[in-house]
């Protein structure tokens, strides 16, 4: 390759610059090597057909055609896994609440609660999202997640003027809902079982299914105690008593807590068994909601404690809205940048080691 005109290489470089950054990062070196290997010794200009092909492929990749290769290829499977897990979490949560409240109410007074329409809508949406997340019907899964997520948001928006503290308390879940809908929209052709493996995807799904029915089992096995004055209490095995009406509380005892904890660990294990790049991206995607879950109670402590004491309640000020919206966004961007930077460093280090090994081998061969 030493006989090649350096101007040819520069011209190829200009053509390769038309490709998306991610594709260049992954293949530019190789492509340049192939282009130079295929050129004639004193060639100064790229061939017409080669040029046309490079331009066509670059444009095709730029407009999102298939084969948009990149080191970021791991984002799509990570998004598929994230979307599935969050939809599963939210569906499991809804099913758990419904099971506990409907069966708990039935145990107390023999009547079945009529669930709000939004609950059915949300459960249907999450169910569609979960079912189609395993398939290549990307838009159906995304539509289910968007419908369910927006219905959850709509309920909070409607209740906000009278119950602003609840919006703040569940903000992390709303962020998760939005993130899941976005992830299922952006996952492309990736499916979660591709990243997790079919067996682990089945195990994880089973763990979520168990988590969904545990509160119902707890409610069915709970002890209902009736008092002479018409009052009653319902106590789950090993759990707390919920005196009077359930008041929106789960009836959760050891049946929910212990096997529930085991199921959660099984899910975590399945996620951690995904490849390291996918795991890193999952951490970046889960971090905003987890950070909100941890940070919001202390940061908004005064608001959460006092706002409902006023009539009407005090609403969030612009600065608090900015924090709630900007904090998760900034955290995700920072996480994504850290992942990209860390992997780039690891890649360069590996490349350097390979070159060093190569040089040593050559040196050894030369001396012998």
């Amino acid at each position: 390759m030493t006989g090649h005109d350096p101007r040819l290489e520069r011209r190829y470089e200009r053509l390769l610059a038309l490709f998306p950054v991610a594709h260049r990062r992954e293949y530019e070196d190789e492509m340049m090597g192939v282009l130079m290997a295929g050129s004639a010794p004193q060639q100064r200009y790229p061939g017409l057909r080669e040029t046309a092909n490079l331009v066509r492929c670059a444009v095709w990749l730029r407009v999102g055609g298939r084969g948009a290769g990149s080191t970021d290829r791991h984002w799509a499977p990570a998004a598929a896994v994230f979307g599935l897990v969050v939809c599963f979490m939210l569906l499991t949560y809804r099913l758990g609440v419904v099971g506990a409240e409907v069966l708990g109410g039935w145990r107390v007074d023999g009547r079945l609660l009529i669930l709000p329409g939004q609950w059915w809508f949300a459960m249907a949406g999450w169910t569609v999202a979960v079912a189609f997340a395993f398939t290549r019907f990307r838009l159906v899964a995304a539509a289910g997640a968007w419908a369910a997520g927006l219905s959850e948001v709509a309920v909070e928006v409607v209740d906000y003027p009278t119950w602003p503290s609840h919006l703040v308390e569940v903000w992390w879940m709303l962020v998760l809902s939005g993130g899941a809908a976005l992830a299922l929209t952006a996952r492309g052709r990736a499916r979660p079982q591709g990243a997790l493996g079919v067996r682990r995807a089945v195990v994880m799904s089973s763990a979520f299914a168990v988590l969904a029915i545990l509160p119902s089992v707890d409610a069915m096995l709970a002890v209902v105690t009736r008092f002479g004055d018409g009052g009653y209490s319902i106590g789950a095995l090993g759990g707390y008593n919920a005196p009077g009406w359930l008041g929106g509380h789960h009836v959760s005892g050891v049946i929910t807590l212990v096997p529930g904890m085991i199921c959660a660990l099984v899910i975590l294990y399945c996620l951690l068994r995904a490849s390291a790049p996918v795991c890193r991206r999952l951490v970046a995607m889960f971090a905003p909601a987890l950070a909100l879950y941890v940070v919001v109670p202390p940061v908004f402590n005064g608001f959460l404690v006092s706002t409902q004491r006023f009539d009407p309640p005090v609403l969030l000020v612009p600065g608090q809205w900015v924090f709630l919206i900007a904090f998760p966004l900034a955290l995700f961007i920072a996480g994504a940048l850290l992942v990209a930077r860390g992997e780039r460093h690891a890649y360069l280090i590996e490349l350097g080691r390979t070159a060093e090994r190569e040089a040593r081998l050559k040196q050894a061969a030369a001396t012998s």
């Binding site: 295929g38 055609g65 298939r66 290829r73």
Partner: protein, 110 residues
């Protein structure tokens, strides 16, 4: 599966190959009919990697440039075998029909 993907997978059956070796082998396999251009090659290689049909076997530094060798995966082998059967079936069907075909007077080129 398009023709370039089919030919690239075929080129990788025998042993892992780097990009330029794939181009040369595809030219050979196709009897000089298909010369893959670099843009096409790396678009298809990327898509095959994404689909798990091929994977990187090893990397080398040659003349200060990265050179990757790609190899066929088990999934790739299965897909190539299935595609081969499909193409052979189609080719057999076409051959069978062509064997009993003759141009009727006035319907073809003289």
């Amino acid at each position: 599966m398009g023709e370039p993907a089919f030919l690239i997978l075929t080129a990788l059956v025998a042993e892992p190959k780097h990009g330029y070796a794939v181009i040369e082998d595809v030219l050979d396999i196709s009897g000089g009919q298909v010369r893959l251009h670099t843009g096409t090659l790396y678009s298809v290689l990327d898509r095959l990697r994404e689909g798990g049909l091929i994977e990187v076997d090893r990397e080398e530094i040659v003349a200060s440039r990265l050179r990757r060798y790609y190899r066929l995966t088990g999934v790739g082998q299965e897909r190539l075998a299935a595609e081969t059967v499909r193409l052979r079936r189609n080719a057999d069907a076409a051959a069978a029909r062509l064997s009993g075909f003759s141009l009727r007077p006035g319907t073809g080129v003289a």
